[in-house]
């Protein structure tokens, strides 16, 4: 055997039943109709985001074998989905790179930089919520941990911000483990409540510690680039890499395991997926993405305070993920841009803008409940 089996922790004497969801007695007729009903369900997919074909390196011999196996009757339009996603990504990047040539006022640059950072947050939360199906209502905790770690180290020790990145990664991984290890044993509805609590705890802690500057926060955090334009480009590059990384993780062994867990934890366990570890890995990945976004945030504003890390922020990131399409990389990028830019576009409406923002969101969710760019599990042969 290739894997060292690990024993379950003892100390749960009453725990005869590990999973009540595993087959309880059901009549054969019942299961047959249930299966048939499920097979007939017509609604759209929410699955893998970017389906890069995994057998791309296979030779032509393999191709013909595949064609033979598949037989006829496959719509040809699907064959281009791989390219679509690739091109969509490149087109998005191009738009982001050209945007300052259209409008480079300090205000516009600041809004665009914030939007890019928000995209990174959404890509990180998408790993937890979209891929792995874990509802996290306190995601902003990791954003705060990253921002404060880099801010405190840079100002207290007089370090350049880049030098704090390794520490940020270590601290966010630890934070992910500390928050995730106890909570991921819980059922998902409890998980939502506990993560919500952790989000608040982090904020209140920052509010009360001296090292974090209390309610007024930290000032004079050094930047990462000379000018706002340069910083914007740096942010776009970092965020693009983060989005690409999240997409690649999603298409790998661990990414599939996340989806197996989301779809059916028992079936995943039965196939040898250590569901607890896999969930923890998703949580840690999300934490690192959020923490690194926090570094960009600290560099962008040069000042951070607890007020930036409220529950509203967690809710907005979650909204971006849901609005765009859970588990879909192009979806969450679009969702994040919409959520961060829309309030700025509506700024002229003054007091009504958040009202209209809410109405627009509700309209989108009613018209496209699967998100703006939903994930697809359909593979490209």
């Amino acid at each position: 055997m290739t894997r060292v089996p690990d024993t379950t922790p003892e100390g749960a004497p009453e725990d005869t039943v590990r999973s009540t969801a595993a087959d309880t007695a059901e009549s054969t007729g019942g299961s047959a109709t249930a299966g048939a009903a499920r097979a007939a369900a017509p609604d759209e997919a929410t699955g893998e985001a970017v389906n890069e074909t995994t057998n791309e390196a296979a030779g032509p011999a393999r191709k013909t074998a595949e064609v033979r196996r598949r037989g006829a009757g496959r719509p040809p339009t699907r064959a281009s989905r791989l390219l679509q996603n690739r091109w969509a990504g490149l087109a998005g990047l191009l738009v982001a790179l050209l945007a300052p040539f259209v409008n480079a006022t300090p205000y516009a640059l600041s809004v665009m930089t914030s939007a890019a950072i928000f995209v990174m947050l959404a890509a990180g939360l998408n790993i937890v919520v979209g891929y792995c199906g874990l509802l996290d209502l306190g995601y902003v905790a990791f954003f705060a941990v990253g921002a404060y770690t880099s801010g405190v180290l840079a100002t207290r020790l007089d370090l350049p911000l880049v030098a704090t990145v390794p520490a940020v990664i270590v601290v966010t991984v630890v934070a992910g483990i500390v928050i995730g290890a106890p909570t991921l044993r819980l059922r998902s509805d409890y998980l939502a409540i506990v993560t919500l609590g952790f989000g608040e705890i982090i904020r209140i802690t920052a509010n009360n510690l001296d090292v974090t500057g209390g309610p007024s926060g930290i000032y004079g955090i050094p930047g990462l680039a000379g000018s706002p334009v340069a910083f914007y480009y740096l942010t776009v590059v970092v965020v693009a890499l983060a989005v690409l990384g999240a997409a690649r993780l999603g298409r790998s062994r661990i990414g599939r395991a996340w989806r197996f867990v989301r779809e059916d934890e028992d079936a995943a366990e039965a196939m040898g997926v250590h569901t607890y570890r896999v969930k923890l890995a998703a949580y840690i990945a999300g934490a690192v993405w959020g923490g690194l976004a926090g570094v960009l945030f600290a560099a962008h504003l040069s000042a951070i305070s607890p007020g930036s890390f409220t529950f509203l922020q967690s809710a907005l990131v979650l909204m971006a993920v849901v609005l765009g399409g859970m588990g879909s990389i192009p979806g969450v990028v679009i969702g994040a841009i919409v959520i961060s830019i829309l309030p700025e576009i509506l700024r002229d409406l003054a007091d009504y803008r958040f009202f209209l923002f809410g109405v627009l969101l509700i309209a989108v969710m009613l018209l496209r409940p699967q998100g703006l760019w939903p994930a697809r599990s359909k593979e490209v042969p």
């Binding site: 005869t16 299961s31 598949r70």
Partner: protein
């Protein structure tokens, strides 16, 4: 013939209910053993105990002399046990291929860095994984679309996918929980052939099944459960004539 799985004096209770009350049986390498019994006899519960989903109250479960008790299901799977579920547990919204790739999860040699950098090792392992998935789908004779979502397949095809997923685990022991349930006559004939071909790979099979024709045809031995108690264990032709078994299946009708 060496013993692969041996279960002795297995007991499981849910509160006051004794779902399994002293079950003892063993399975040799590459052998087909059927577990039969009326509804609620405790067959699925026994599977759940072996695979780590339920924790037995008492008894021993040994795989090649190694105890499986207290292991979590993924650890049992890692030791070479795969299973299907009585009420189909596919990853419905994932592609058929991805479902079968789940079986290859433990065989894949790639880490997070490979995935992030798309190293040759990543590409190779993904390619092998996909080839394996195709192989096992061919093996079970899937005719439907393997690139689309699993839930869109007809029921009988979904059953095949679930078996392909378990086979992709390349287990030494395969537990099938009522694989013929809901299948039509032609599909049952194909299932019979499939079970024989799986056995020919050197995989031992424990089969829970209500279809007696199938059970009598494929099993080397049959274990009969009734109300959690084991009432017979032997060759199919002997078990079929056992008065206790006839009694359990036909109830008081035999005396009427």
């Amino acid at each position: 013939m060496t013993t692969l799985l041996s279960v002795s004096d297995l007991r499981l209770s849910f509160g006051g209910l004794l779902a399994i009350d002293g079950l003892t049986f063993s399975v040799n390498e590459a052998e087909v053993v059927s577990v039969i019994g009326p509804n609620g006899a405790g067959k699925t519960s026994a599977f759940n105990c072996v695979t780590g989903f339920y924790r037995p109250t008492a008894g021993q479960i040994m795989l090649r002399g190694r105890s499986l008790r207290g292991l979590r299901p993924s650890a049992v799977a890692a030791l070479g046990v795969a299973r299907t579920f009585q009420n189909l547990r596919l990853f419905g919204e994932l592609s058929v291929l991805d479902n079968v790739r789940a079986g290859a999860h433990l065989w894949l040699r790639q880490n997070v860095l490979d995935a992030l950098l798309h190293t040759p090792r990543y590409r190779r392992s993904e390619r092998e994984c996909t080839e394996q998935a195709h192989h096992w789908l061919d093996f079970v004779g899937l005719r439907g679309d393997r690139y689309g979502e699993a839930r869109h397949l007809p029921y009988g095809e979904q059953r095949r996918v679930e078996i392909a997923r378990a086979l992709a685990r390349r287990p030494d022991l395969l537990l099938l929980d009522e694989p013929a349930a809901g299948l039509n006559h032609g599909e049952k004939t194909e299932l019979l052939d499939l079970i024989r071909r799986i056995q020919a790979l050197g995989v031992a099979i424990v089969l829970i099944e209500h279809d007696m024709g199938l059970v009598m045809e494929v099993s080397e031995r049959v274990v009969v459960l009734n109300f959690g108690k084991e009432i017979a264990d032997g060759r199919p032709e002997d078990v079929r004539r056992d008065p206790a078994v006839i009694e359990a299946y036909l109830g008081s009708d035999t005396h009427a």
